[in-house]
Every structure is written in structure tokens, then in C-alpha cells.
Symmetry: D2
Subunit: 366 residues, 4 copies
């Protein structure tokens, strides 16, 4: 496999590049009988669209999704769901200097080294636009998880050095925030900071945190396909992510064992934990606690300042990138993080249902 398929049970294969006629995703393994229409998917795509606020570009992408297969009389049939999004607003342009020079921080040079040449229009397959297919697929996974009582919410945890206050987290506020920040005070500082970066023709990164609540205990496979390993892969597969933390993350490496261990206790006749440094995962398997994961995103590599680089003919040059670019991609990546978490969790939940003889018997002897 050349890496365009994700998951083993609920598999998503994405296709398409920034400036082709369309892009999309094929989902195989979606359980039959799920009510589904474009209306379930479109809101997720709308969340990753560039908006009109100061922090995102003025580009307009319609991103209208079409279901081409796998749904009959309003329900999934169990066969592949093909989703397509036309690239309506990608007009042919002059890509002159990008075609011949390697943009620093982008995949231009590495694609050329891998394939011998590359589709230089808007980054081709390495464009962030590729995530539209993931988000469309993630919306379906999310609907299934929601039906099983599980919720997944991501939000901007930090922009540059500006971090939210955990006590101030308001998930509803984050959904209406132009930068998906759940803390209005931090949001204000971050917006100012981003405006400053934009004015200086520069860009900035940040951190996205994702909380999965009400996931059953027992999800994740021992050894290589641990839930944290699968989530780690999912988030690092998003371009621009340079670090991932689970639960206490790096802080855990500086704690004592007596401090980091989450003690178990009975609470109202339920199993409970006195803390959640583990981020809801022990030995790679979910514990029933909220699953907490963070992805750290680098600053947008496309900046308006002239940059030193080389041409594909190996000459030193100075490149100034035209076009429109977000000074920060963190807010648009929030729904991508949510989608990847949904795809990962559902995939491992499907993997898990064969883990016990009593499950097998329940399905085949009832």
C-alpha cells in the first residue's frame, strides 16, 4: 500500500490533489443500516473551510460533498461509500516560481526526490486540501460513535506561546470562535498575536487538544496497535504536526511514579480513577476515562517574506511565494484532528468486537 488507506476495518482511502478536478474518499467497512445523507457530512467540511475572518485566507472553496455510492433509501448498505468534492474554485494559474523552486518547509523537494517529479500546482497531493477527504469520512465515523454515546471534541489549546486556561474551557464557545479557542480571554490575545504575524508577513503554529468521552473500556490492541499508537499515527499523518502528547505527555516524563500513577477507586459503585495522567489509555487499551490527546502544529510554511532556497536545477535562489495563505493553520486543522480521532477509535472498536468468545457467541448464537 502506498499510504492512502487508513484503518483495517472501517477503511478510508483518500484521493485527489489541490488543483485537480475533484478529490474524495472511499469508505469500506461502514456498518449497514446507518441513516446517512450529505447533510450529515457537510457541516464537518464547512468547519475546515477557509472563512472570512482575519485569520484565514480570502480563498473560497465550496467543498460541497456528494455521496456517489453505498447509501440506499437513506441508509448505508454495507458496501463502499464514495464521497466526492469538486475543486470548483481552483482556476488555472501561473505557478512559475513554485514549479521550478523548492518552497522551504514544504514537501516540494522530497516529492521530487521520491517520484522524480511532482504536481506543483498548490502542493498537489501534499496540500492541506487533501484533508477534505479525511474530514468527510470522519463525519461518518463520528455519526456512528455518537449513536453509541461517544463524543469527540477538539479545540485550539495554544497559538504560539498563548495557551488557554483549563479552568476556562467552554466547548460551545470554541465552536463559534474564529480560531476554535474555548477560552475567550486567550482567544483575544491569540487573535492579536496572529494579526501581528500577518502584519509582519510571518506565520505561527499552535496546539490542538482533543477529548474523547464515554468511549468504552477495552479498546486498543496490545503491542503494536495500541490505541495511543494508532492515535499517534493518525495525528502525525496530518501535515505540519510535529509532536503528539497523550494525557500528561511530556510532563509525565518529569513526574515521580507516585505522582503520575492514577489510583483506582470505587465511586458510586463504579470504577473510577483519582486522576487522569494516562489520558484514558493504559497498556494501549482504553480505561473508560476521557481520552486526551494533543497535536502540536508548526507555523504555516508559506510566508510572504522572501526566502533562501534552491531551484530544481540546483541553483541557489530567493523565492517569494504569491497567492493567499493563512498565517496560522491550527484552527482549520481542529476538525481534521477530530476526524482522525473518530476514524481511529471506530476502527479499533470494530477490531475489538472479535476479541472475546462471548462476543462471537452473542452474534452467531442469538
Amino acid at each position: 500500500m502506498a499510504g492512502s488507506t487508513f484503518g483495517r476495518h472501517f477503511t478510508v482511502t483518500t484521493w485527489g490533489e489541490s488543483h485537480g478536478p475533484a478529490l474524495g474518499a472511499v469508505i469500506d467497512g461502514c456498518p449497514a443500516g446507518l441513516p446517512l445523507s450529505e447533510e450529515d457530512i457537510q457541516p464537518f467540511l464547512d468547519r475546515r473551510k477557509p472563512g472570512t475572518s482575519a485569520v484565514t485566507t480570502a480563498r473560497r472553496e465550496d467543498d460541497a460533498v456528494h455521496i456517489l455510492s453505498g447509501v440506499f433509501e437513506g441508509k448505508t448498505t454495507g458496501t463502499p461509500i464514495s464521497l466526492m468534492i469538486n475543486n470548483t474554485s481552483q482556476h488555472s494559474k501561473d505557478y512559475g516560481n513554485i514549479a521550478v523552486s523548492y518552497r522551504p518547509g514544504h514537501a516540494d523537494y522530497t516529492y521530487d526526490r521520491k517520484y522524480g517529479f511532482r504536481d506543483y500546482r498548490g502542493g498537489g497531493r501534499s496540500s492541506g486540501r487533501e484533508t477534505a477527504g479525511r474530514v468527510a469520512a470522519g463525519a461518518i465515523a463520528m455519526k456512528i460513535l455518537n449513536q453509541l454515546g461517544i463524543t469527540i471534541n477538539a479545540y485550539t489549546r495554544s497559538i504560539g506561546d498563548i495557551e488557554i486556561n483549563d479552568a476556562a474551557i467552554d466547548l460551545a464557545y470554541a465552536r463559534s470562535s474564529a480560531i476554535c479557542m474555548p477560552d475567550p480571554e486567550a482567544e483575544k490575545l491569540a487573535l492579536d498575536y496572529i494579526a501581528g504575524c500577518r502584519a509582519e508577513k510571518d506565520s505561527v503554529g499552535g496546539c490542538i487538544e482533543c477529548r474523547m468521552e464515554n468511549a468504552p473500556a477495552g479498546i486498543g490492541e496490545p503491542v503494536f496497535d495500541k490505541l495511543d499508537a494508532a492515535l499517534g499515527k493518525a495525528l502525525f499523518s496530518i501535515g505540519a504536526v510535529k509532536a503528539v502528547e497523550i494525557g500528561a505527555g511530556i510532563k509525565a516524563s518529569k513526574m515521580r511514579g507516585s505522582e503520575n500513577n492514577d489510583a483506582l477507586c470505587m465511586q458510586d459503585d463504579q470504577v473510577a480513577f483519582k486522576s487522569n495522567h494516562a489520558g484514558g489509555i493504559l497498556g494501549g487499551i482504553s480505561s473508560g476515562q476521557p481520552i486526551i490527546i494533543r497535536a502540536y502544529v508548526k507555523p504555516t510554511p508559506s510566508i510572504y517574506q522572501p526566502q533562501d532556497t534552491i531551484t530544481k536545477e540546483h541553483q541557489n535562489t530567493v523565492l517569494t511565494i504569491a497567492g493567499r495563505h493563512d498565517p496560522v493553520i491550527v484552527p482549520r486543522a481542529v476538525v481534521v484532528v477530530e476526524s482522525m480521532c473518530a476514524l481511529t477509535l471506530l476502527d479499533l472498536m470494530l477490531s475489538n468486537i472479535g476479541a472475546r468468545m462471548d462476543h462471537l457467541t452473542r452474534i452467531y448464537h442469538s
Copy 2:
């Protein structure tokens, strides 16, 4: 798949638990014609053995590896290589309180939730001992990479808050250090700190850094199987890893784009970069720069202090864990990190050789 197989081309399937008769690994997809004997593998296993120093336990594990298949007349045949390590020193013991109570920070509770019961002897499959199979397989991957001119070196970057000085890194020193630290000064402080933890019946975590040098550009698949995604999964699949960074990692999320972008330039007629914040990976594909990755390890969950927890019958209890446990597992995990990096890089190098028509033609038309 239930998660005991790693890789798609150079696949490793590990088996075995802490206190069974043996454990091992089966490697499928090892290229034919590689000179191989137990002597190539044993030194790697010896590096993860508990030693006799102050920082590791007094347990003795022989860890002698046996090649059971796939090698003929001193060379790999291209068929599966079965590696087995007998569990010689695991005497039957009284596991009484571990059998009935859940150890905080361990996978006891989650295994019970997943499977309905668990092998409680020494953690069973969730024991760190499972990594012996990975290290044995990793030694073979490493030999192949070395033959292609690639080196991989991991070392302890930090213990608790004590971090090495980058300017003082001495890889040869790290190999002889009881805690795999490449900076003698930091090592001394760390040894003292670990001794303090041990005296307080407590434990501590740290950070392992791994450098892959001389890897060719072009390795890694776009989208889901990016080199960083694959490495992220590989490292998070090691129990106790709670965070992973590539290159500048979290720091990248706080930099400006103008600062974080690695400018390209020509140097002695070779393509070069003026910095390596990317950690050698752009768009998920290797750039030819050194690949730098860090894994953050939580403190050993087994501590000698009494801890609050519950029994499997859901009664509150206080558990004191007997047996011998390292106050820090970071040094023993160093070779595991190296092994997982070797397995990941080789697997993606094998994946890459079908990426271009000219590769295909070179193999089939020559």
C-alpha cells in the same frame, strides 16, 4: 489483525508473555542473501537486559536468542526467520495480590475489561519483556540498514528534569553509560537523582532521543503512512511512552514560520539545509537530513510504596507490589527505540522501491 504484527514489507510478529516458557518474533519479508547469525542479534538483546548497576534490577535474564528458521549456510533465505528466547529465569511465584488487585499505572484493569480475564504473571503480554522480540527483529533490520550505509543511534536525553547538553553529546560514551546518557556531566546528576528516587521507593521517567543518519531522501508515503506517522506509531507502541516529538517538536509550534522553515542551499555542489527543525522529514518524506525523534517515557508504574486501588471484585484496597523493579525504565528502552526506528525505516524503504517506473524497469529489465 490483533496488533502483534508490525510493518507491511519487513513484517515482525511478536509473541510471548512475561512468564510463559518462551517468547519470540517471526520476521517475514527479510531480503534473501543477508549474512546472519545469532551473534548479530545477541548484542542488541544484551543492551536491554537488566544489569547489575544501581539503576537496574538484580533480576537475571539470560535472553539467549535462537534462530529457528530462515537462515541456511549463514545467509537469510528470504523465508520467515523465527527467533526464540527462552524465559529461563521466570520461576513460578506467588502472584497473590497482583492476581486480585489492579496495579495503578499498569494495564491490569484494561486487559480485564478487554478480554474478561488476564494472565497476571508479571503483567503477561503487557510486560516490558515483550520488547525482547522487537529488539531481536530490530537487530536484523539494523544490519540491513548498516549495509546500506545508514546508522541509527538512540540515547537518554533526559531523566526527570535533568537534560543533556547538546554540545556535549558523545555517542560512544552513551554506549558505556549505565543509563545510556551521552553527556558525562548530566549522567552524574541523573544517577544521583535516580538513587534518590530509589531511596524514596519511588520512580522517575525521562526522554530518549534517536538519530537516523544517512537515510536516503524519498522515504515515507504521502498521507497516512508518512515517515513521521509511522515512526510516531512505532514509538507510541512502546509501553510507557506518553509523548513523541519530531525535529523541533513542540518548540516548532511556538516559532514563527520565518524561523522554523529550514532554508535549502547548495553546499559543495550538494543540496543542503541551513537548519533541521523539520527533523529530516518534509511532507512525511525523508529529506536526506538526519532524522531526529524523541520519545518521552513515564516513570515506572511499579513502585514500592503502598498505593490505593481496587480489587477485581471492585473493592477498595491498598496494594504493595513485591518483586524487583527498576526505578527508571528509560535506559533499557533505549535499544527498543532504536529497534522500532530501524524496523520502521526499513519497512518504508522496502515500500518505496516500487514508487517509480524506473525502479521497476531497473529490476525487471536488467
Copy 3:
């Protein structure tokens, strides 16, 4: 995976059902640098279209293929190739009795049992129309194989009891034959026989033979992914195939060893074989001889005669199927067999290039 993806290296994921808006395939792992346009694919799709001859239905399907991604400036980029075919001629119809009754010989009953309900329009995903995606993908595999000097040709070997004479095989004739038969005399008899079946409102099956020539020796993996096992799976995955033979096939089971063994000999300084009962495969690995495989196809299950069956409410009923149906599907399946053989052979050729250290060295040290 729910079975819509074929191959591990050159992977094809098909989607779409008989009467949805479109159907298609996504190819991942196509080597970069292959010249490709719709013109390379369309002729293969045209070969599986229903024609106007006496043996095929009067339905008209345009089957115009669109490349939506993965090709730039006329060459494959190494990223996924998305192929789409609009279902232009599938007008909404009255599917009344098929919606409520199970057609004998079709998958109606088994889909209902698997999924709880089914898309009954023209068979939905179980329709032969699903093979359009395979053929489109197969055309790309075939172009690559042809560039490496390999040819694949399938033809109708028998219709009912009427079989071709091996001495009379004329591959060029088969391409122009309405029933893809390479022997004009057998073709005449078969056409008469089919006409008779049609007149009696009945249908008939037959056999498709496929010859792969000039494939390199060494293709196929030992044990489970033998070349014959992979080809067997590929052909049995075509609906209506009820038997597969390799080389001498069933006859081999009745021969003596002394007769069945293909003796090796030197011929013009080349390794040669005195016979080819093995069909070009020994121990699951190609020998360099022509690879010969046969698929036996059952008669079209849709016939115009009334048939006993049951309704989905479990009442006995008599069903008469309306619409237009071929009395024989063998000729249209010929290009599907060719396509599946091409996809299988190419996939295993890509798998094979990592089988030897010298291959690895040739790619990474040159």
C-alpha cells in the same frame, strides 16, 4: 477491510453499484512516471460493454472513464489515481418484483442475510457492472506490464460443451469475435448454441482461458501468497466463476508423476521445459514459462422463464424477471479475467522487488 480493496502494493479499491450515479476505482501504489490518459483505459472498458450482437443485450452503457487524480502533465505522479464512470443510462425503473422476491442464482438472499436489507436496483453492488472499476484499473496494470515486455491475453475457451481446438487458436481472431472465441469453427457452433438458449428463454456458461507470456521467473510468494493462490482468488472474486484450473488443472490429478512432471532442459543456452503441465508456476512461483489459467463461468442466473422462489417475507412465489439479460456472460467477462490477472501479476512483481539484498542495494546504492 470489507473486501473492496485488491492487492497490497498496486492496490485497487472499487466502489459503486449498478444503479447509483457513478462507479469507479481508486488505484494506490501506481509507480510514478507512467504516461497515462483516458485513451489507455477506454478500450478495455469498451471490450466489456454490452454490444449489439445477438449474444449480448441491447442495453447501452457509455462507460466513459474520467481520470480525477494522480496524473499530471500526462504522467502518473505516484499518488492515487481516481477513476470514475458515470452511470448515464440507468434510468429509474420499477423494480417491484425483484425488490420483494429473491432471484435464484443471484445474491439477493445472501445480501439480505448479511446486511439486513439490500439495494435491489439491478443487483446493486453484486451486479456485474461492478467489474467496470476492475477493468479500468486493470488497463493501467496492463500498460505497465506491457512496458516490461509482458503480455496477457484471455479468450473464450468453451461455451456449454463446445470447446475450441487448441491447434486453431488465433488470438487476433478472438479480439474481433463477438464471443471472444479464437477458433472460427468453434465460434460458429457456439453462436448457434447461444441463439438456441436465447430462443428457449434460457442461458449458458462456459470457460475463459488466460495466457500470460514473458513474465519473469521468481514472481509469487511462498506459502499463502503463491502466484497461483493469488490468481485463484482473483478469478473466484469474479461473480459467476465456479472453478479455476492452473496448467493441466484437473487432468493433472489423473496423470502419473512421470507424465505430469515438466522436465527441464537447456535449449539454445536457455533454461527450458519439455512441457508445461504446471501452467508456468512451480511451488507458487513463476518459472518463466507461459502462465496458463482457466475460469469456469456459470450460466447467467437471470433467465426469462418463470422460476420458483420465495419473497423476503418468506412466502413461496413464482418470479419472472423482466429487463434485458445476456444469455451468456462469458464473452463480457473475458476482459475482466485479463484485468484481474494483470492486477495480480503486477502486485506480486512489486512485492518481489524487495526479496533480495542485491535488489535493495541496486536501488539504494546506485
Copy 4:
């Protein structure tokens, strides 16, 4: 993957060659909670051992199986089950002429072409002895299937031209027959025929038929992973199988549709079929009828007659193979066919449990 792993959910990885120290299999994905000991597996291995009768060789293989992991307190834990069989009776011998010459009908030449050299001791990995691992794994799959009420029985259908009479099938008799034939009369003729072959230093093939009864309807995935495709791959992966038929098989290709279609009807308030030409599979999915499949096995390639062949230095030569060889391998392959069918059916049953939203809800909302 290099082809030593079978299945996606209940995965089996086999390792080992004819004359190494041991061979074995690792099963990953076995549901937890299955009572299991060596006694469940050994009888299956005993059925494939060479016996002392006239039709099998005088070699003695102990084939005692050892469970090395994955079982605790008599039950499977859900983690990998490692099975090992020591090669006790493989004494070092002189393999002189086999080492330098290619045996006709064997994989000697193709392994050399694939890997550059080969383990020539007893065929190495291409030896029939490799199937011991499959049979050991198949025994576990069979135990699970039996617990779900499913039975699988294979037997010798024909030896050379001698075929059983369907009316005379006696499965219990087959189990005691030296050649696994369920019809005493045909068995007698076959034994005579085999004795004749042996006397003439020749060998003979035959056909194995397998019946799977009481399998639930709905098993198998549409398109590429049809139940018949998966079974076809499974049987063709057994060395020496040259043809596979499902249900009516080749005969179906000669029938009319009106004759071949299996009419549905209600019988005692149950869905029933008036015939079973389909062999229990429609559209790749089980119908609930008995699943019938046949594998045709070529004559043993090792015969005592001198044979024309070439050396690995490409010289013509005449080879006489020493050692002991069965004149027919069909009887020993019967349990291999059963095992592969059990592994295939169980794997697709595990795949199927995620096919419906109501299954998911039953597991996660109860």
C-alpha cells in the same frame, strides 16, 4: 508481506522449513476465553503424519506440538498463540544431487530464480512439511467453529481416475481409511491402483472434497473477498493443488441457467433450496446451505524413476531422487484442506461481525 501470514482477523503466520530445528505458527486474533490445550491440536497433526500403511512413507515424524504462549489457566488470553513442533527426525543427510540439480515438478528452480539460492534440504520452505503449522492453527479455528455448531469434513474424492460414489459416502469410514476415502469400494480400487504406481516407481494424484455444514448465512465480503475467492486462495496455497471447484464447479459451466439455478422454497417454515449447485455460496456470501469445495492435487513430483533435468550450472543431467516419498500425497493433504477451510471461514466470520449497526450496538450497548 512476504506471504507467510494468512487471514486478516484470525491471522496465522507460519515459519520453518523441512530440515531446520523446528517449525511452527503464531496465531494472532484468537478470541479470549477459549479452553485450549495441546490435546486439542495434536489429533489434527497426527492425521497428517506419514503412517505405516502401504500408501505412505516409512519416515517417522513425531510432530508433537507445544503451546508457547497465549494460553493461561487453560484458556486463550486473546494474545498471540505460538505453536512449535520440533523437527526431531530430520537427521543430517547427503543432499548431494538435489543440491546441484533441479527436481522436475518441484520449486527448486523457481526458488533459485527468486532468491538467488535456496535451502535444498528436503525442499526447505517449499516442503509439504510446512503445512504442519497450518494444521496446528487450523485445529484451533476448528475448535471455535465447532463451539458455534459448525462442522467441516474433508475426504478423498478420487485417486487418479477412481472416484467415490456419492451415495456411498460414509464420513466415519473415511476417518479410519488409510487414504481417507469415504466409500469402501472405491477405496479398495484406489489402494490397488496406488500399489501399482508404487511398483512402477511412479506416483498419482487425486481430488479432495470438503463439506462445511451449519455455517451461518451472510459470511463473505462482496467483491474481492468473497467467501469462494478466499477459499480458492486458501486451497491453491496448498502446494500441488492445480484446480479448485465450488459446488457444481466445471459442470455448472456446461449447464443451462434453468438447470443450474438453485430454486428457493419454504420448508417447515425455514428458507430452503431445492438443489445446491452453488455449493452454498451466492454472490460470494454463504447462503446457509452446506459449503462444498474440491481441490485437485497433482501426482507427487518425487518419483524413483530417473528424470531429465538440468543442474544449477545449466548443464543437462539425469536425476534419480533418493529418500522416501509417498506415491500419493492426497490422503495426507485431507486434513490440510480441512484446516485451510476452517481458517478461512472463521476469518470471514470475524470480519462479518462489524457488518451491521445492530451488531455494533449489541456489543457496545449491552
